[in-house]
Structures are given as structure tokens and as C-alpha cells.
């Protein structure tokens, strides 16, 4: 049971959250200008790194706010928490 730090409510049990997958996958500016392959890449391709991963969570059973974290997928340690629209923090 991860303890996930909601930027608004503080640390809460994982069951209160909804996972939102990889962060910083922006909806394309003009989808109609994309080729099928480019659009397919937006729809279906996500990274799966061993190590730091920027991902989205929603505090669905709490304040209902979405936020981003950088989590080390090896240890589950959450290294950064930041708001949507903010750039991914640089991890040393």
C-alpha cells in the first residue's frame, strides 16, 4: 500500500487514488494534421522505464485533483510531486 503525497491533502493510502499513466503526454495541438502513425503513437505508446518515471495520479476519493509525481519504479519511492502544467523536476 503506497503512501502517495497528494499536493493538497497530504499523504494518503494508494486506494484513494486513480492512476493516470505517463505524464506530459499532451493532447496534440491539431490531431487532424497528424498521420495515422503519429496519432497512433499519441494514443497507444507509453514509456515503461526501470527507474524514474513521471506519471499522473488523481486523488479520486479525496480532493479529486490531478497531479504529477516522479516515482522510481524500482523502489516505488516518490521523489517529486508537482502540479499539472509544471515542468518535470530535474532529478539528480
Amino acid at each position: 500500500m503506497l503512501l502517495i503525497p497528494c499536493p493538497w491533502c497530504g499523504a494518503r493510502d494508494e486506494v484513494e487514488f486513480h492512476y493516470g499513466g505517463q505524464a506530459h503526454v499532451a493532447y496534440p495541438e491539431d490531431p487532424s494534421a497528424l498521420s495515422d502513425e503519429q496519432w497512433g503513437r499519441y494514443l497507444f505508446f507509453r514509456e515503461n522505464p526501470e527507474g524514474d518515471f513521471a506519471e499522473r495520479w488523481s486523488h479520486s476519493a479525496g480532493c479529486r485533483r490531478w497531479f504529477n509525481v516522479v516515482r522510481d519504479t524500482r523502489s516505488n519511492r516518490i521523489k517529486h510531486v508537482y502540479l499539472p502544467g509544471e515542468p518535470r523536476p530535474v532529478t539528480p
Binding site: M1, L2, L3, W8, C9, G10, R12, D13, V15, E16, H18, G20, A26, Y27, D30, P31, S32, L34, D36, W39, G40, Y42, L43, F44, R56, S58, S60, A61, G62, C63, R64, R65, W66, S75, N76, R77, P84, G85
Partner: protein, 1035 residues
């Protein structure tokens, strides 16, 4: 075997009777089943599964591989360790060979779970754990001490470990006895199982939970889990009478049991000398100590010899002999008569929990064992668990060399021998994980507690790598077997899962409705009359809706209030069709797709004002749609000025359907013009229905003239009763499904499956050509989505008009799979059966695999011209039925009130609640501020809830939730049964608030001066009320 006259922490003044394998024996309070059996001379406690060999009590604790017994009374429980089962009067058990027997009746006991938080969790109350606990207590920290043994007060005399006295004296200390920590998870989350009443046997109070699962979040963990003694593999090492040396000492000191008369001790280290000396002093004959070390520790050897014990230095036990139990022991060429062979191959620190924490393990050559390395979590290991064994050891000895290894047992439970391991390594297996699976060593009930290290060492030996070089298998949770009943806790029976009901539920139940589960909702399925089966009831309900007038409780539809200057733009982006062009006062059906173009949800949008919509979602998808809207608003379109609020429970919705619906509505709503011109299709009106303020929508999910009447859910039952007073037939979800299927209206999730586009459903008309973009648009031109052979929704008419195609059935065109049935019903209107299906290609006939043929038709089988939707051209108004009763306001938990010791629960009904969205903070995050009348509750960075009469501008959600006030000094304890938040007064003082989960139900929790106010959604209130009363059983 006998009792020592003095030793042991047993209460000899009381005798307990028990039955094992059909014979009655006696023991004392303080005994385990194993110690009582040994005291009665019972050595054989089981038969090995594979080879049928007799097996005896091997240890005195959780590592026991042999003494796994079946408890028969008071309640059947399979595969229980005799070595940890506390004896009680009336215990009936029997020996096993392999699996036990599950109970053939429901377990009558209660089970429970509690959340706990602490600064320091100490696991194990032995000397090292006790010292750590005392140190933590002295700092004023919140300490939890969990120990598998009985509590100090039950121990009449202290033995070796634990002087337990003095523990648990800290003001914030909780001592959990009979509690085994079984799992160590991320972020210092540990799960423990407390055995609370099993030791009381037949006297266990039925209202006390038999076992309790503790879910503990600890800032720091101290593991003082001790060490397990290691066996040595030699011929006949599985005979009853072979026992771990330290365990014999435990039997002597803790239970006053002498586990034999004449013993040989076989050791690799100093620890067994203490056992030999203590047993000798207690009157047992020690025939010899065979010490594998050529030079045993001088002081211990001297003390043994002084006690008259022969020490055979550098000698090995080569065989235990006997017929069914040990009769003699072969040391080299000498055969020593003995009925007990005590073995110590060294000690393994119990590193299971440390390993589960993510900790690395290191092989310690001196100990021949794994010891803790580094852990990413805040954990420290003390005492023997950390490798601090406090005695000298020699070269590890794993097995005694021999010509034949077929009786050198490695895993006593699985009958795995050294020969089996050699066979595995001989076959080329070099990984311990592979050898485990090939031989099954370590896969039994004990999960290799005595065999794991030995297996690993044998693999290392056979493959020529250094000891410890072969690795180990993973230490997985749980550390000990945990009963499913304990894991289920109170989540069973009526409380198995949160249940949602509407404001009309009791009416449905009282009228004999059968219910269907839709998500967590209980929806009326159909209302059988006396003598009716389901088919007859549904045909009657369908006929009433098509020919007369019928009504359904549609309150479960998700409802979301969407407000803000950009509401229209927002909905244009979410729905496939245009919502911005919808006129105020009108309603439009809409479909939402995911970006991949697949249908996600459907429903209606009604435009309340330029900047204000109310949208409905499918019953099961309401939360997902709201999440979806918030996701796009917050992560992609933060510039849109829109807010979304769930109002599902705020409104009770009654669908009034059928050619007679206009007359009924006109009768109940005298102020409303209900004629065709005055109230056109797809518009809404605000009026009073049966004297209740209502919003009436002229929409239809059946093809008939129909209305949806929405009122505050407080008045839902009054509205329904008024409708029912007009000779209206109630109908359930089955009829609703038939009616919509006859019209070819798809149900998202039944006729779609996440691979279905609007076009697949034949709904090209719902996909806007005008909008530059909306979610899903780009995907409709993807090659895959646009391909011509996609499955599309069609109607099916079975050739045999009475044949009902099974939903889900495959449809064949010749011998090719062409699609599958998605919906299938008998139809009153069509006078036959019909179905909807998703089918690829053009066909006239399809067959199921069982050969039922059906003709393919349009998906719209009833009234394709939509002639019935608006009702009759002119209508003879129904005669006024004589008014209606004055509406009555009802709260979801009317009358809910209960008092316990230190605890009071009561509904606080009819609180005015307004959801306020503003960029100007009203209260700081996580706080609820009251002015004495109205409390302003923080919900999020731009969201508050006002509770109370004070005026606030926002969305009225008064009936969306009800409130339960929990007061008294034990309110926190009650909530801890189902709420994972730390509610300690220092952490969650009065004035704090949180949105969180209680009993898996979303709540708003507000700490007040004398307790808590719990705001719960109206649909969950009855479930949560029942859960709270159940959790309060022990209060």
C-alpha cells in the same frame, strides 16, 4: 516423557481436557497442543504425504514442518500448527497426512480489521524487542509492540525471553499479544493478524472478533523477530523423536515438558550445550553430545563433562534408527540407545519481514546464514534477527556424508530428500528457484522455514559455488498462513461490498421487487405478482409501458452539474455531437468517446442556462465520467472556466412511460401544460408535481411518450407514491432493457465493449461534421476504425420465434465467426424473441454454434417511424383523480440512532449543503470553520462545502449527502475500523476535515469538539449505517 514437577509457565491448578486422534488427554492452561501432546507421550502427530512416513513434533514454534493438524472442535480448521495452538478445554484435533478439511458450514465467528498508526512498531517482544520498545517509549513516542505469544499477564512465570513486565507502560503504547506481523509492504505499511479468542475455545464470546487484521503505518520499524534453528540432513532425520535442540529447551522451561528420557545431542555450535545441561539438570539422561567441531568450545565441553555428559568432538550422527520413532542413534560406528535426538545445525535469523521491506540479504559465512543488509525503508533489525546470536558457532554443517541420500530429509513436509536435490542439480538445474519448483522443497505450509537454507546450501555444494552463492528463494508475505476469514474481516454477507440504494428502495423491496446489481447499485429488476415468473412479469410490465402507463425508478443515472462561461465549449469537446447549439430549455442526447474513438458513455445534456448544463451518465459509469471530465479540465484545458459537481443523489428520478403518461402527468402537475405543442419532445420544464418542486424532462428511452420527473431525493418517495396512486405499473430494469432494445437503443457496456465506435452502432448522425475537433474525432479516420468489415449493431429475429439466443453467443456465417449476440429478449410488442448483435459483414442469416438460425434485420424493430414518441394527436384528458397527499420529506437514515459504551451515533438529517467553487479561499486547506450555525468545509484548492443555513452561492447538494454524527470518547476507535487516516487528536484535531474512505465508501470527515461529523452520499448511507453498527458490536 513427562512433566517436570516445577518448571514451566503452566497453571497446574487447572486441567484442560482435549481429544487427539480420538483419544482423550489432559493438559494445563499455558500449554500448546504440542506441549500437551508431548507431556502425554504422544510423539507421532502426522504422516508424511508422499512417502507415508511417521512424523513427530520437530520444533516449538512457527517454523514447525510436521505438527500440522486438523482442528475439529469447536470449529473445523485445516492445517493448524500444534506448536502455536494454545490449548483449551474441549479442543478436538486429529493428525493429518497432507491437506486438511475445510468446514462444511459457514464460520459463525466474527472477524475484524483496524487501522493503526505509530512512530515505532516493534515486532517481537523478546529481550531485544523489549529493550527497543522501552527505549522508544521513554521518548514519548507512539509505540506498537506486536508479539506472537500470549500477553504477559497470561504468563505465570517468566522464562528466558521476555521479561514482559514493564512493557506497555508508555502513555501512547499499544501492546498487541498473540499478534503475528505477516506482511511488510511499501512505505512502512505492515499487516498483522491478532488471534483474539481462539485460545478460549468453546468459551470464546461470540460477539468478539475471533481474529483481527491490523493495518499498521509506522514511521519506523524495529524487527526483533529472532532466529530459527537449522536442522542437519542425515539418514532417518525425519523420525519422531528427532527435534530441534533449542525447541526441547523451550518445552522444558515454558511448559515443564521433558520431551524424552534419553537423548543424544547433535550440534555444530555452542547453543545446544545449554539445552543438554538444562535437560540433564531436569532429570533427562544425555547419552552424548556429538559435536561436529573437532575442537568444541572448551568451557561448554568442560561444563558438559562435569555434568557427566560424554562429548564426542568432531563426530557426526550418521543415522537415527527406530521403528516409527527414534530408538537409537548411530554416531560413527557407535550405536547409542536413545528416544530423543536433539539437533542444532546453527541458527537462521528470521529475515522474512526485512526481506519483504525491500531489504537486501547478505550471506554471513560465520553463521552460515542470511543476515539483513540494507533496506530502502525506515527499519532496523535487532537481536538474533540481525545475526547477533550470542553464542559461538563452528563450520556450518548441512548434511552428513553418506553413500545413499534417499533418507536424508531436507523438507519434511514435502518429503524432499538430499537425493532429490542431487537429482535436480544432476539434471542441470543451478538456480535455487528452479530446484524449488523441480523438487517442491519449500513450497509447503511452512514455506521452507527449516528447509530453505538447507536447500540453498545443497545446491551451492552440488554446483561447486561458495556457500551462499546459490542465492535464496523470495521471502513472500504472508510470513504465516492467514485464514481467508481474517482477510475478509467484516466484508462479508450484507457488508461484502458497499451497496447503493435510491430513496425509493424500501418501496420496491416492500412490493416484492427482485433486485439487479448495477455497479454497486441495487436496482429493481422486475416486480413479480403472485404466481408470475420473471418472463411473465416482464411481458406484463412491457405491455403496460407500451399500451397504458408505467413508471421506473431512474434515480441511479449519474448526474453531473456543469457550470461556467466555457461549459458549452467544454461539452463540445467531450461529446461527439454539438452541445453549444442546444437552446436553453432543451435536451440533447450525446455520446462520449475516448480519444481512440471508442464509445465511453452516453446520456443526455439539458441546458439550464447559457452557462449551465446538467448531464446524465449511465448508472455504472457516473464516477468514471466525472473523473474523465476533471482529467481533461485539470490536465489539458485548465483555461476553460468550468466546474463539475456530482448531483446524482441530489435528485430522485421517476421515468413515466406510455401512452397514458401525459394524462397522469397532467393530473399530478396541474400547473404544467402537457399537450404536444406546449411541452415538445426533448425539452424540460420546471413545475410542481404532486406538490413537489420538480424538473420534468420530455425524453424517452423506450420510444413511447415518456417523461422523466426529477425532484429532491428527500421527496422522491412522495413523488413515487403519488405516481403509483394513479394506477401506474411499476417496472424494473429488465423491462427497461427490453423496451430500449426493441427500439435498437444500445446500452454502453452491454452492446459496446470498448472496441465499438458510434458508427459501429449505426449512429453516424451523432458524430458532428461541423466541429473542428472533439475527443475521438481523429480516430474515426484511422485505417482500423474506418475499415468496412467492422462489427456493426444489427437486429436478429430467430427463425423459431420462441428461441432465445444466449447473450454473448458466437454467431456463425457458415463456419466463419461473424459476431456475437449482445442483447436478447422475448418481446411482448413483437410477440416473439429478438436480439441485438455486433456483426461483421452483410448477412441474411446467422446461426449460433448450437445451430439456432436467426434472420438479420435492422436494429430498430419497433416503431421505426417514431410515431409513438409524442403520444396521441388529441387526448381525452383523464378525469382528475382527486388530488394527492401532502408531500413528506424523508432523510436517507431516518431514525438512525444508537448508543454504545463511550459512543453515540445519530443521523443529522436535512442539513443545507452548498458546493461552492471559488478562487478566493474560504478556509485553509484541510480545515472546517464554523460560525456556530454554518460550517465551511475545505474540499479542494478551489472547492468548499457549506453545511448549515448560511447563504452561499453554488450548487445545492443538500440531498446529495446525509450526515452521521459520531460522538463520545471512542468515536476515533470506531472510525479506525474502516478509515486509514491517522485520527490521533494531535494529527486530526477538532476543526480538521478530510475527504477520504470509510468502509470503502467516500466520505467527508469533519472533526468536532466531541467527535466527528461524517457526510456520506445518500445512496451509501444505509450501507454505512449498517457497517458502523456492525463495527460497534464490541463497544
Amino acid at each position: 516423557m513427562s512433566r517436570h514437577p516445577e518448571l514451566g509457565n503452566i497453571d497446574r491448578s487447572r486441567t484442560l481436557r482435549f481429544v487427539f486422534d480420538g483419544r482423550e488427554y489432559h493438559g494445563h492452561p499455558g500449554d500448546t497442543l504440542a506441549s500437551a501432546l508431548l507431556a502425554n507421550g504422544v510423539r507421532r502427530v502426522g504422516t508424511s504425504t508422499l512417502l507415508g512416513r511417521p512424523r513427530g513434533i520437530f520444533s516449538a514454534g512457527a517454523e514447525e514442518p510436521n505438527a500440522v493438524v486438523q482442528i475439529e472442535e469447536p470449529f473445523p480448521e485445516p492445517m493448524v500448527l500444534a506448536t502455536t495452538t494454545e490449548l483449551y478445554d474441549g479442543l478436538v484435533a486429529r493428525s493429518l497426512s497432507g491437506r486438511g478439511r475445510l468446514a462444511d458450514r459457514p464460520d459463525p465467528c466474527r472477524y475484524d480489521a483496524v487501522h493503526a498508526h505509530c512512530d515505532v512498531l516493534v515486532v517481537g517482544a523478546g529481550p531485544a524487542g523489549a529493550a527497543a520498545a522501552r527505549a522508544a517509549e521513554s521518548t514519548g513516542a507512539r509505540v506498537i509492540i506486536a508479539d506472537s505469544g500470549p500477553p504477559a499477564a497470561d504468563r505465570t512465570r517468566a522464562y528466558s525471553a521476555p521479561d514482559p513486565h514493564g512493557l506497555g507502560t508508555g502513555p501512547q503504547t499499544r501492546v498487541l499479544a498473540r499478534t503475528t506481523v505477516v506482511g511488510y509492504y511499501d512505505d512502512n505499511y505492515l499487516v498483522a493478524v491478532e488471534r483474539r479468542t481462539a485460545h478460549l475455545g468453546l468459551d470464546a464470546p461470540p460477539d468478539l472478533a475471533r481474529e483481527r487484521v491490523w493495518r499498521i503505518r509506522a514511521k519506523r520499524v524495529v524487527l526483533a523477530t529472532g532466529a530459527h534453528e537449522r536442522p542437519i540432513a542425515f539418514a532417518g532425520n525425519d523420525l519422531p523423536g528427532v527435534m530441534l535442540a533449542g525447541s526441547a529447551r523451550t518445552y522444558l522451561h515454558r511448559y515443564g515438558v521433558l520431551p524424552g528420557h534419553r537423548a543424544v545431542v547433535f550440534t555444530t555450535n555452542d547453543s545446544a550445550y545449554a539445552t543438554a545441561l538444562d535437560l540433564a539438570a531436569a532429570g533427562l539422561t544425555i547419552a552424548a553430545i556429538a559435536d561436529s567441531r573437532p575442537e568444541p568450545a572448551q568451557d561448554w565441553a568442560d561444563r558438559a563433562r562435569a555434568a557427566g555428559i560424554e562429548v564426542l568432538a568432531g563426530q557426526l550422527v550418521t543415522e537415527a534408527r527406530g521403528d516409527g520413532e527414534v530408538a537409537s542413534v548411530l554416531v560413527g560406528t557407535r550405536e547409542l540407545p536413545a528416544d530423543l535426538l536433539l539437533v542444532s545445525g546453527g541458527w537462521n535469523p528470521v529475515v522474512h519481514l526485512f526481506s519483504q521491506s525491500g531489504g537486501t540479504l547478505r550471506y554471513d559465512e560465520r553463521l552460515g546464514a542470511l543476515v539483513p543488509g540494507e533496506s530502502p525503508q525506515a527499519v532496523e533489525v535487532v537481536g538474533a534477527a540481525g545475526g547477533d546470536l550470542g553464542h559461538g558457532s563452528g563450520e556450518p554443517l548441512w548434511f552428513v556424508p553418506a553413500g545413499d541420500y534417499s533418507r536424508h530429509f531436507v523438507d519434511l513436509q514435502r518429503d524432499v530428500t538430499v537425493a532429490d536435490v542431487w537429482r535436480a542439480t544432476g539434471a542441470g538445474l543451478t538456480s535455487v528457484e528452479h530446484v524449488k519448483r523441480y523438487t517442491t522443497a519449500g513450497t509447503a505450509h511452512d514455506q521452507g522455514k527449516t528447509s530453505g537454507a538447507l536447500t540453498s546450501a545443497l545446491v551451492a555444494h552440488a554446483t561447486g559455488v561458495a556457500p551462499g552463492g546459490a542465492g535464496v528463494t523470495t521471502f513472500r508475505a504472508p510470513y504465516l498462513p492467514v485464514s481467508f476469514a481474517a482477510l475478509a474481516g467484516r466484508d462479508r454477507g450484507a457488508l461484502h461490498d458497499p451497496v447503493r440504494i435510491t430513496a425509493l428502495h424500501d418501496w420496491h423491496a416492500a412490493r416484492g421487487a427482485l433486485f439487479e446489481n448495477v455497479g454497486q447499485w441495487r436496482r429493481p429488476w422486475y416486480y413479480p405478482r403472485a404466481g408470475e415468473d420473471m418472463a411473465a412479469a416482464v411481458l406484463r410490465e412491457c405491455r403496460a409501458a407500451r399500451e397504458h402507463v408505467a413508471a421506473m425508478d431512474a434515480s441511479t443515472l449519474g448526474k453531473i452539474d456543469v457550470i461556467g462561461p466555457d461549459a458549452a465549449e467544454f461539452l463540445d469537446r467531450l461529446y461527439t455531437n454539438l452541445m453549444s447549439s442546444l437552446a436553453v430549455g432543451s435536451i440533447r442526447y450525446g455520446v462520449m468517446c475516448r480519444p481512440d474513438g471508442m464509445v465511453f458513455d452516453d446520456g443526455t445534456a439539458i441546458r439550464l442556462a447559457e452557462d449551465h448544463y446538467l448531464i446524465t451518465t449511465t448508472t455504472g459509469n457516473a464516477a468514471a465520467v466525472l473523473d474523465w471530465m476533471e482529467e481533461w479540465l485539470q490536465t489539458e484545458w485548465p483555461d476553460l472556466r468550468v466546474t463539475c459537481t456530482s448531483v446524482t443523489e441530489q435528485w430522485a428520478t421517476v421515468a413515466l412511460v406510455g401512452p397514458g403518461s401525459r394524462a397522469v402527468l397532467g393530473d399530478l402537475a396541474p400547473g404544467l401544460a402537457v399537450d404536444r405543442a406546449g411541452f415538445p419532445f426533448m425539452t424540460w420544464r420546471e413545475t410542481e408535481v404532486a406538490g413537489i418542486p420538480a424538473r420534468v424532462c420530455r425524453i424517452s428511452f423506450s420510444g413511447e411518450l415518456a417523461y422523466e420527473i426529477n425532484v429532491s431525493s428527500w421527496y422522491g418517495l412522495s413523488l413515487w407514491e403519488a405516481v403509483m396512486s394513479r394506477d401506474v405499473t411499476p417496472y424494473g430494469t429488465e423491462t427497461m432493457h427490453v423496451l430500449r432494445a426493441e427500439k435498437g437503443y444500445p446500452i454502453v457496456g452491454q452492446d459496446t465493449d470498448g472496441t465499438t465506435t458510434p458508427q459501429d452502432l449505426g449512429m453516424e448522425w451523432i458524430v458532428s461534421k461541423k466541429k473542428p475537433d472533439f475527443l475521438g474525432k481523429r480516430s474515426f479516420t484511422r485505417r482500423d476504425t474506418a475499415r468496412p468489415d467492422r462489427r456493426r449493431l444489427v437486429g436478429l429475429l430467430p427463425r423459431d420465434p420462441e428461441a432465445l439466443l444466449p447473450e454473448g453467443a458466437a454467431l456463425l456465417a457458415g463456419d466463419r465467426m461473424a459476431g456475437h449476440v449482445t442483447s436478447s429478449y422475448p418481446s411482448a410488442a413483437l410477440g416473439r424473441t429478438f436480439a441485438l448483435a455486433l456483426v461483421s459483414g452483410t448477412h441474411t442469416t446467422l446461426t449460433t454454434r448450437s445451430g439456432v438460425a436467426a434472420d438479420v434485420t435492422s436494429s430498430v424493430l419497433y416503431d421505426p417511424g417514431n410515431t409513438r414518441r409524442d403520444g396521441a394527436e388529441t387526448e381525452t384528458a383523464a378525469p382528475p383523480a382527486g388530488g394527492f397527499e401532502a408531500p413528506v420529506r424523508r432523510s436517507p437514515l431516518a431514525g438512525f440512532e444508537a448508543e454504545f459504551d463511550g459512543l453515540r451515533l445519530a443521523e443529522a438529517p436535512f442539513l443545507t449543503q452548498v458546493n461552492v467553487r471559488t478562487g478566493t479561499p474560504l478556509t485553509p486547506p484541510g480545515t472546517a470553520v464554523t460560525d456556530g450555525e454554518t460550517t465551511t468545509v475545505w474540499l479542494g484548492p478551489d472547492e468548499w462545502l457549506t453545511v448549515g443555513p448560511g447563504a452561499a452561492r453554488g450548487v445545492d447538494v443538500s440531498a446529495q449527502r446525509t450526515a452521521i454524527r459520531i460522538t463520545g470518547p471512542r468515536a476515533r476507535d470506531l472510525l479506525a475500523h474502516g478509515c486509514a487516516l491517522d485520527l490521533h487528536p494531535d494529527v486530526f484535531p477538532p476543526g480538521r476535515c478530510a475527504q477520504t474512505l470509510l468502509a470503502r465508501t467516500q466520505i467527508i470527515l469533519i472533526a468536532e469538539s466531541d467527535g466527528f461529523l461524517v457526510l456520506v452520499r445518500a445512496s451509501f448511507a444505509a450501507y454505512l449505517g449498517a457497517w458502523l453498527l456492525d463495527a460497534a458490536t464490541e463497544f
